[in-house]
């Protein structure tokens, strides 16, 4: 079992390497040079060339990539921002917890809201409760995160004055962004849990549990839900990944100093070290999350656990 986990963790490394190669290449391919973006537009060509040379931009692509990776792996140094000259690693360490907190509370809210209501909806299929929630969740699942954010901002902050509309400092700043992220994903969790439950309830072993004399509550919440939750675990993990992406947009809207905002700025300015550092970090987090989800699933479902112990699959 542990061999499998180790193997999976190690496999992330080549993926990240390949990813960084591709991203580096894409960014490098873009028209224009960083010096031209950084220096004011009237600067002379010599000034531009000089800055480019200083930044190492005139070297061939492969050499630049190699230098970057060497510094990253050996010194854990992600370089300095071409624009602000602040070390990228430092910014990432400050900003990463912010984004992770946002994503984490977002998915937590989504799961807490969506899963129990999904179960309830499945148990009361086609009754009013079910129809109402299915309708609401269809609506929320179709809503863009940033628009929900604006509506929430409008109501809670601008009209009612309950919460600050931007910046970051206290828990109050987290409420609206988290809510904007949690709602659409709660809708996804609800729909998925509901359909998983509906399938689970129809399984034969549920009938066996009833025939044993188990009360309906035990049948639903122990037998049916236990099995229904398995695929929900995977979906939650995938949603977490999408949520990280959503956090990027939300940070822009609520002006939250996280990695998302940092990435967007870096990408707009073609600030290569910033883009590289942020992308690699966020992708690594994403891959690790998926791995953790897979492992959780393996522990939950004894049939999958058996496969992993045999070591064959994947």
């Amino acid at each position: 079992m542990y061999k499998y986990v180790l193997k999976r963790v190690l496999m992330i490394i080549p993926i990240l390497l390949a990813l960084s190669f591709i991203i580096f290449g894409i960014v490098r391919l873009s028209p224009g040079t960083p010096a031209a973006a950084i220096l004011p537009s009237e600067s002379s060509q010599e000034a531009i060339d000089a800055l480019n040379k200083e930044l190492g931009y005139d070297l061939p692509y492969l050499l630049q990539y190699f230098n970057y990776m060497k510094k990253l792996v050996l010194d854990l140094d992600m370089g300095r921002s071409w624009y602000t000259d602040v070390p990228v690693g430092q910014e990432i360490i400050t900003r990463l917890p912010v984004t992770i907190a946002l994503a984490f509370f977002g998915i937590l809210g989504a799961a807490i809201l969506g899963i129990p209501i999904g179960v309830l909806s499945a148990v009361k299929q086609y009754k009013f409760v079910d129809v109402a929630f299915v309708f609401i969740s269809m609506f929320l699942a179709s809503a863009p995160v940033f628009w929900l954010g604006m509506i929430i901002m409008l109501i809670l902050s601008l009209r009612l004055g309950l919460l600050p509309s931007s910046g970051f400092g206290s828990w109050k700043h987290l409420v609206m962004p988290t809510l904007s992220l949690a709602l659409p994903y709660a809708a996804h969790e609800l729909r998925y849990t509901r359909s998983s439950m509906l399938e689970s309830i129809r399984q034969d072993f549920v009938r066996t549990a009833r025939a044993k004399g188990a009360p309906e509550k035990v049948v639903i919440w122990k037998h049916a839900l236990g099995n229904a939750l398995l695929p929900v675990i995977t979906i939650t993990g995938i949603n977490f990944g999408s949520l990280i992406g959503g956090a990027v947009v939300i940070e822009q809207l609520f002006n939250i100093p996280g990695l998302g905002l940092y990435l967007v700025k870096g990408v707009t300015l073609k600030d290569v070290p910033v883009v590289m550092g942020t992308t690699i970090t966020l992708s690594a987090i994403y891959c690790l999350t998926m791995l953790i989800i897979d492992i959780m699933y393996a522990f939950a479902d004894p049939r999958i656990k058996a496969q992993y112990i045999r070591g064959s699959n994947h």
Binding site: Q203, D204, F205, A211, G213, A214, N227, R303
Partner: protein, 321 residues
């Protein structure tokens, strides 16, 4: 002492949807005696499973008990509140189903599933006693207690069905309802499981309802037989009366006649022509009339009464007068 354990009296069960009404069980009468085994035989769709589920009130929401009663030890199960019904299921009356591959919860160990059956009806038993009982019943069905921490997917089909039987018998119910318990198993395993069931039945003195479409199984394990067709019991009696008696319902004759016989020189099987009638639209008169080789005028218009020769009863106009 009254040895009648379960009496189905004029039981009628329908499934009602917005579009149609399915007449699944049409006023049947059955009696199961203590310690005896009744076989319910019939084609798929005859209403056997609905009858079984209706005894334990495990029918879906669309099902309605239209008329009749189900007396278990003189108590009408249909009128019983659900809370008390919970005490009956698994404890006094147990049921096992057809497909062992899907009957067990895949994420619970088999031991814990058997333990659940015990604890549901003996909530104050201490855990050591529960485990001892689990081990005991596992041995009873021929499985080593070492395997109680295994998950269902680690067991073969035959072993899974033994676990299902163990779960059903662990509280020593007075009646076991078995709905085609061996149909999904290999033929050789079928024989083993059946032999085991017969042995347990004898040892524990459990009454049994064995639902099957396989006449061979009926011959091996049943004391009494009821033949079901289109939701009605069209013939019933002891095993000898049904298998070797003189008089039979034409459907029963057809059932036996459609069996392949290695010793005979016939080159073709003789199945019963036609299909069972649509349960949403049963024919007037006798339900078998469209297919009956011995049909008479009266069969199309009047429902046949039951005519009994001692314990052997047949619902057919041929035996009237």
């Amino acid at each position: 002492m009254n040895d009648e354990l379960l009496i189905l009296k004029d039981l009628e069960v329908v499934y009602k949807t917005d579009f149609e009404t399915v007449h699944a069980v049409n006023k049947i009468n059955l009696t199961i005696h203590k310690g005896k085994t009744l076989g319910i035989v019939g084609e798929t769709g005859a209403g056997k499973t609905t009858t079984a589920l209706s005894i334990l009130r495990l029918l879906p929401h669309t099902a309605k008990y239209k008329t009749g009663s189900i007396f278990f030890n003189d108590e009408d199960l249909i009128a019983l509140p659900e809370r008390e019904m919970l005490g009956i299921r698994g404890d006094k009356i147990a049921m096992i189903f057809q497909d062992p591959m899907t009957s067990l919860n895949p994420i619970m160990t088999v031991g814990s599933q058997i333990a659940e059956a015990i604890l549901l009806h003996n909530s104050d038993m201490n855990s050591q006693d529960v485990q001892n009982k689990v081990d005991e019943v596992l041995r009873l069905v021929g499985i080593s207690p070492d395997r109680k921490n295994d998950y269902p997917h680690q067991l073969s089909g035959g072993m899974k069905q033994r676990i299902v039987i163990a779960m059903a018998l662990v509280c020593e119910p007075e009646l076991l309802i078995a709905d085609e318990p061996t149909t999904a198993l290999d033929v050789t395993i079928q024989a083993q499981v059946l032999a085991m069931m017969r042995d347990l039945r004898d040892r524990l003195g459990t009454a049994m309802i064995m639902i099957t479409h396989n006449l061979g199984i009926v011959a091996q394990i049943c004391d009494d037989v009821a033949v079901m067709y289109a939701g009605e019991i069209i013939e019933s009696g002891t095993m000898e009366e049904i298998f070797s008696g003189q008089n039979h319902h034409p459907y029963t004759t057809g059932l036996f006649g459609s069996l392949p016989d290695l010793s005979s020189l016939r080159s073709r099987l003789s199945p019963i022509s036609g299909l069972m009638p649509d349960p949403t639209n049963l024919p007037e008169g006798c339900s078998f009339s469209p297919r009956c080789p011995k049909v008479m005028e009266i069969c199309y218009t009047e429902k046949p009464k039951e005519y009994c020769f001692g314990t052997h009863c047949i619902k057919c106009h041929l035996f009237g007068s």
